[in-house]
């Protein structure tokens, strides 16, 4: 019966696809499970406060304070946002509102390529060019919050640009026409109607850019200097949560290893909050 066979094949394909789709959920679940299994016991033993609010990280001596790293991660992220968000938004506005078809045709793929460059290459360029520049013109060793923020500022551009661009493009054409027909200029229309109308998507792009910056490891290790303290100025070195795990996991054992997993738990929670915030901001708009 060819007809039945066709139905059967259809069913098999459908079920296979379903398994594939749900496997990603399964992997996510596994990642959570293992990080929590490995990371949570130490929170019990040492105390949440001593880890999250502790200033001293000496895992072989029983001190697991990661507060300076949490602060450093946020400082680096905010620095990246200060540099990357305005640039990314300006780029998205240009692409969505001003660029002609031809310019879009080469700008869009170029930006996608920016997202595809491995982070170690960003770090490499940071070490070779940005760190010496900072050392020469600003002082210090050059390995600093500033260097990490600059490198990350560039690295979050693709995220900020592509999501802001989508938000700007989803603003109905009728809003633009309505504004232009009132005698507003192109720029007035853009910054008084189009950007406010796309504001939730733009905000989401910033939040997801933050998520990208806080999770970045390699490039930050290479340029941030990795010192274990809260930086006093933008020229001081610092160590982020991700750097801490990557730098020490190779030789960590016992409680030290568990301490790194605890770092991972904190990181995971921060990323989850950021993702939730981004989704929340986007959904808010849809409900309206």
């Amino acid at each position: 019966m060819p007809k039945n066979r066709a139905v059967l094949i259809d069913q098999i394909i459908k079920q296979t696809m379903r398994i594939c789709a749900f496997s990603s959920l399964f992997f996510l679940f596994l990642i959570f499970l293992f990080i929590l299994i490995e990371g949570l016991p130490l929170f019990y033993r040492v105390g949440v406060g001593n880890i999250i609010a502790g200033f001293k990280w000496a895992p072989t001596k029983g001190a697991f304070g990661i507060f300076p790293m949490i602060v450093s991660s946020f400082l680096v992220t905010i620095g990246a946002l200060i540099l990357g968000a305005p640039l990314g938004l300006a780029c998205a506005v240009y692409l969505a509102e001003y660029a002609g078809k031809k310019k879009k045709l080469f700008l869009k793929p170029a930006l996608e390529l920016l997202a595809g460059i491995p982070s170690v290459v960003y770090g490499f360029l940071g070490v070779i060019y940005i760190v010496p520049l900072i050392r020469t013109y600003c002082g210090g060793s050059g390995f600093s919050l500033l260097a990490a923020a600059i490198v990350l500022g560039v690295m979050i551009l693709p995220t900020v640009i592509s999501i802001s661009y989508d938000a700007l493009m989803s603003v109905p054409r009728t809003y633009r026409e309505g504004s232009l027909a009132m005698g507003a200029t192109k720029w007035q229309t853009t910054y008084r109607v189009v950007i406010p109308a796309a504001s939730s998507g733009i905000l989401a792009s910033f939040i997801l850019g933050m998520g990208r910056a806080i999770g970045e490891t390699m490039a930050v290790i290479m340029v941030a200097g990795n010192a274990l303290r809260i930086p006093g100025s933008i020229l001081d070195p610092l160590r982020t949560l991700t750097s801490n795990i990557a730098l020490e996991l190779a030789y960590a054992s016992g409680d030290h290893r568990l301490g790194l997993f605890s770092t991972g738990v904190v990181l995971l929670i921060i990323i989850m909050i950021l993702n939730y915030l981004a989704n929340f901001v986007i959904r808010q708009k849809v409900i309206k």
Binding site: K101, P172, T174, Y175, R176, E177, G178, S179, L180, A181, M182, G183, A184, T185, Q188, R192, V193, P196, A197, K288
Partner: protein, 249 residues
């Protein structure tokens, strides 16, 4: 003879290779309602959009021939000044996603009008479209929460804030139900005392009800133009007669 607030002479327009307007000679009399009717795709919206240069937004548009607004050649008028004196209301109500008040002061802000004048202008324009009593206590509510009819009235009020002398309406009732349509039509008749109105409509009864003059367009040509009563009772072109009696369109 009345003066033409808007006029075209031998106007031709192409979208790329598509010849959308063919040798159009057209005149919109001041302080009257002129309606453009015709089947979809006949070029009536295109013609309307020539008068405030909204066709500029589309790539590959070529326009030949002359357009005059209040006696001045369109090419000599600054585009911002032009759009201030020729307001436009769109097919779908398009209030901005701001509050009612912010929608109304948008044009005032973009044209740098003193802030202290805002409340008076907002009240006057909302009264002109009969929304003042309904909305005066919720001016700071989002405009998108209004009914479709109120949104369209708000859009008309928004246009009035910048004090145009001519108002273009591009099928302003096509998204509205019959009762809302009737109210907008009454509003148009009120407004014609102070404004010149050009309306594009696919609804022949609407043209017959509200307009003083009617132009019938077909395939990019202005087939016939004249007083509405004459066009609808004794059209001189058989294509006009065919359309208004419902043989096609």
């Amino acid at each position: 003879m009345q003066t033409c607030a808007l006029s075209t002479r031998q106007l031709n327009l192409w979208y790329g290779l598509f010849h959308a307007l063919k040798n159009v000679d057209f005149c919109v009399y001041a302080n009257a309602i002129t309606a453009l009717i015709g089947p979809s795709g006949c070029g009536k919206s295109t013609l309307l959009r020539c008068f405030n240069r909204m066709n500029d937004l589309i790539d590959d548009v070529i326009i030949k021939g002359s357009i005059h607004v209040e006696g001045r050649d369109l090419s000599t008028i600054d585009i911002i000044e032009l759009r201030r004196s020729v307001g436009m209301v769109f097919q779908r109500p398009n209030p901005f996603p701001f509050s009612i008040y912010d929608n109304l002061v948008y044009g005032l802000q973009t044209h740098g009008i003193a802030k202290k004048c805002y409340p008076d202008i907002v009240e006057r324009c909302l009264r002109a479209v009969d929304l003042w009593d309904d909305l005066k206590d919720r001016l700071h509510k989002p405009a998108l929460e209004l009914s479709e009819e109120m949104k369209q009235r708000l859009c008309i009020a928004r246009v009035l804030t910048i004090e145009p002398r001519i108002i273009l309406l591009d099928e302003p009732c096509s998204a509205l139900d019959p009762i809302a349509t009737m109210k907008i039509e009454e509003l148009m008749i009120e407004l014609k005392e102070r404004y010149t109105i050009l309306i594009v409509t696919h609804n022949m009864q609407q043209a017959a009800r509200v307009s003083d003059y009617t132009g019938f367009m077909l395939l990019g040509e202005l087939v016939e133009f004249g007083e509405t009563s004459r066009i609808f009772t004794s059209p001189s072109d058989e294509r006009t007669e065919g359309y208004i009696t419902g043989r096609f369109g």
